[in-house]
């Protein structure tokens, strides 16, 4: 059985079909990349699965358990954690406090939650910066902070929304390494990304969305050759 199953997912905003009839399965241990031109509905898919938006129709289940209708905090408890495309750290709290808040999900006592938070910060190489307020971190550090926060909830699946955007090449390199490590730790990853080189390298499989519809689903090298995908990105004449 797939870890996460999405069936017939649909979201309509007024007259706009942001996501139409999307079905896919996510397998345990996999890194799945979700790509598509701007406005293709990638972030909407994230929001639908993580409970931030209610779908118009469709089913989402984690290990056979329905997720539709759950509030975001309940989805996190089931084992799906996420980061945000535009980072949303707790700005005026320190890095350690940021992650401690997430660690409270499994550790009731503050000392234990803090110890867990420290481990998570080490994991994303932010151990040294734990005393800094989130506003004072660089964008790359804030993105790592969000990943540490998500990891502290002990997820089965990690949803990363554009983890590489706005990072310099060295930081992208380190980001790819971090995703690989997370996967080695047994966490399944699904990520939205515009940074093509990065996503091609770290994904086992790629799904391409266009106007809210899935137009390709397969291994990275096959997907880039797909005529439909090239047309979606570059226009019909480029095919």
């Amino acid at each position: 059985m797939a870890l996460l199953e999405v069936h017939g997912l649909r979201k309509v905003f007024g007259g706009l079909h942001a996501v139409s009839d999307l079905s896919f399965a996510l397998h345990r241990g996999e890194v799945l990349g979700l790509i598509g031109p701007n406005g293709a509905g990638k972030t909407t898919v994230f929001n639908l699965i993580t409970g931030f938006l209610a779908p118009t129709a469709g089913r989402v289940s984690l290990e056979g358990e329905n997720l539709i209708g759950l509030k975001p905090h309940a989805v996190v408890k089931k084992g799906i954690a996420r980061t945000f495309q535009v980072v949303k750290p707790f700005r005026n709290l320190t890095a350690l406090e940021n992650v401690t808040l997430a660690a409270f999900l499994h550790e009731r006592s503050r000392p234990k939650a803090e110890a867990r938070a420290r481990r998570m910060l080490e994991r994303v190489q932010l151990g040294e910066r734990r005393g800094a307020e989130a506003v004072d971190l660089t964008l790359s550090e804030q993105k790592r902070l969000e990943i540490a926060r998500a990891l502290a909830t002990d997820p089965k699946i990690l949803f990363l929304d554009e983890p590489m955007s706005g990072l310099n090449p060295t930081e992208v390199e380190a980001g790819c390494e971090l995703v690989r490590q997370i996967r080695q730790d047994g966490i399944t990853v699904i990520l939205v990304e515009h940074h093509m080189r990065a996503i091609m390298r770290i994904s086992d499989r790629i799904i391409v969305l266009h106007h809210g519809e899935k137009i390709a689903d397969g291994a990275p090298q096959d997907v880039v050759q797909d005529r439909g995908v090239i047309a979606a990105y570059l226009g019909e004449r480029a095919v």
């Binding site: 975001p72 905090h73 996190v76 945000f84 707790f90 700005r91 999900l105 998500a150």
Partner: protein
């Protein structure tokens, strides 16, 4: 340092009435404590969780009316009535919270304002229950026997100590919450609701809990108000100005601090009395001017600013 300050503060509170027999000063001190109580409870939701309520007078009014009615119609001891007022205030807070917390930021604030106005209008027009604009009056309070002594409520001193006990408990509660897991959740809500949800915090539950706690204390304060003044009417206890005043106390004192409300109450109550004495209605101009100065130069409030200065020197 903080403990020393707290101990000194409590000592001053206990001994203050011995310093003056002047009923005006006694009244002033009672008002300072009453407003500390309100500021502290508003701060619990508005300061720690960043949820700015413009309608907290609704809980004050409920507390005041429950205390009055349970004494006048049911013959319940007014002090049990006061507790009942707090409890019923908290009970009302749950549905109010579940509705208003669907909204965020200024929309939440406006919704609380609307709720308070609706309840004020109901109180004004439900004459069988509230006697409408006529109000309710207690002519005499039953004496309270306590540890062999009898308190007759004719002087202001027992009210002073009652207010002091309530204000201290409210500050104690705020302090306890600020150190608890709930306090951490409320901070997360204030910083970013989406992120709070994303790390597994049930933000609606955290906010409703904070509102209910806050409403309980404001309800107690309403009960105190009704016993101290022995008269309530809807325009007195459900007034928007009360809700706004609570915000001023918390903001001037220092949002999300334990000691801020008492600092705010001392400063604002004193200023209001001082200028009212000299300029009658014109005193509001000075009050407003003072508010603008604080917001411009001490955005963290007087206590918040002071604390930062102390921390910087240390």
């Amino acid at each position: 340092m903080t403990r020393l300050l707290a101990a000194a503060g409590i000592l001053v509170l206990v001994s203050a009435p011995l310093l003056t027999g002047n009923p005006f000063f006694q009244h002033l001190m009672i008002m300072v404590l009453f407003w500390t109580l309100l500021g502290a409870s508003w701060n619990l939701l508005g300061g720690f969780a960043g949820q700015v309520s413009f309608g907290h007078a609704v809980f004050l009014g409920i507390g005041a009316y429950v205390t009055m009615l349970s004494y006048l119609s049911l013959g319940l001891s007014p002090f049990l009535g006061m507790l009942a007022g707090g409890a019923i205030g908290a009970m009302f807070a749950v549905p109010i919270g579940l509705i208003c917390f669907r909204l965020r930021g200024p929309y939440f604030s406006l919704a609380t304002l609307a709720v308070a106005e609706i309840v004020r209008l109901v109180a004004l027009n439900w004459e069988q229950l509230t006697a409408g604009p006529m109000g309710l009056l207690i002519t005499q309070l039953p004496p309270l026997s306590f540890a062999g002594a009898t308190v007759d409520w004719e002087s202001k001193i027992p009210f002073y100590y009652l207010a002091a006990a309530l204000a201290l408990s409210a500050m104690g509660l705020t302090h306890a919450v600020s150190r608890s897991r709930l306090g951490a959740y409320l901070t997360a809500v204030r910083e970013d609701i989406d992120s709070a949800e994303a790390v597994g915090i049930d933000t609606v539950r955290a906010r409703v809990t904070a509102l209910a706690l806050s409403a309980f204390i404001v309800g107690l304060a309403g009960g105190f108000y009704s016993l101290y003044f022995r008269y309530v009417d809807p325009d007195a206890v459900f007034a928007i100005s009360l809700s706004v005043e609570m915000i001023f106390i918390a903001v001037v004192g220092g949002l999300a601090t334990t000691a801020g409300p008492i600092v705010g109450a001392v400063v604002l109550v004193t200023i209001a009395e001082f200028f009212r004495d000299r300029f009658q209605a014109g005193h509001l101009i000075f009050y407003g001017l003072f508010m603008m100065l604080v917001i411009r130069y001490l955005p963290e409030g007087i206590w918040g600013g002071l604390r930062r200065l102390l921390a910087a020197r240390a």
